[in-house]
């Protein structure tokens, strides 16, 4: 199963590149948040890569909110590994966990931005 997931990640990393992800941002603050969440969820690979992409996006003026949803979604969601998660934990658990994680990602980023404003 892990071999299959890694195989699929190999293909994803070939076809979904960092440059391609960068072009999806910059249309509006709201779309950046949605794009950040889904781009993070479909991406795969070491979490450090998400920070490198985020740094590049930051210089393009993408909001902190969108950047944090992107990084969070990258490490907590994984569309590529969904079949593996279903086969191990079952469809019910996987569905609940991924829906909750998707919502949590957006809420956590929002709360973090709002709370930071109180201190900075």
């Amino acid at each position: 199963m892990i071999i299959a997931v890694v195989g699929l990640i190999g293909l994803f990393q070939t076809y979904v590149t960092a440059d391609m992800l960068s072009t999806l941002f910059g249309y509006s603050a709201f779309s950046d948040i949605i794009v950040g969440t889904f781009a993070g969820a479909v991406s795969s690979g070491n979490g450090a890569i998400s920070y490198v992409i985020a740094e590049g996006l930051q210089s393009q003026g993408v909001s902190v909110y969108a950047l944090s949803t992107f990084i969070l979604a990258w490490v907590t969601l994984g569309f590529v590994q969904l079949p593996a998660e279903v086969s191990v934990f079952g469809l019910k658990f996987t569905s609940y966990r991924n829906i909750l994680t998707l919502l949590s990602t957006i809420i956590v980023s929002y709360l973090a931005v709002i709370t930071t404003r109180l201190f900075v």
Partner: protein
């Protein structure tokens, strides 16, 4: 004798078929994808080794009754704290941990704790300097506190939803 169980055979067949089809349509990229696959797999070997040793140690030292005690229905706050710390300290991709979690689940690990473990992995200790560099220290501290709070909440919600 216990029969060996291979999970995800159909998924593996699907991925192999996908590579085969892509090699006909787009040979250069399918080869690049395969090279990336080998590279990732090579990089994962030390993590797999660590997880295999950890699973063996858990199976040896923690009997099913103890797993139930520490991570089962009545594990309480202690189980949650151990799980969150485990999630924060765990390395490597999520799917590398599925086998160990599945093994512990069969011995009584709560579904809520699995969800908490997975979400707590969003706190990436080695990557904190990168995060501070991009977002600043205040945001980094705040978001990581929220991640831990939501890891706990998510665990509770999963337990509630799975009981339905």
């Amino acid at each position: 004798m216990k029969k060996l169980e291979f999970k995800g055979v159909k998924f593996l067949i699907f991925v192999v078929t996908l590579y085969a089809l892509l090699s006909i349509i787009d040979f250069a990229n399918s080869l690049l994808g395969f090279q990336k696959f080998l590279y990732i797999l090579w990089g994962l070997l030390p993590i797999f080794l660590f997880i295999i040793i950890l699973t063996t140690m858990i199976n040896y030292f923690l009997k099913p009754k103890q797993i139930m005690k520490y991570f089962g229905e009545d594990s309480g706050k202690k189980g949650l704290i151990y799980t969150i710390i485990g999630g924060i300290l765990s390395h490597g991709p999520m799917y590398a941990w599925y086998g160990m979690l599945d093994d512990m689940r069969k011995h009584g690990l709560k579904d809520g704790l699995i969800a908490s473990f997975i979400y707590a992995r969003a706190v990436k200790l080695p990557l904190l300097p990168f995060m501070i560099d991009i977002f600043g220290i205040v945001f980094t501290v705040i978001i990581n506190i929220y991640i831990i709070i939501f890891a706990v909440l998510q665990g509770k919600l999963i337990d509630m939803l799975m009981k339905k």
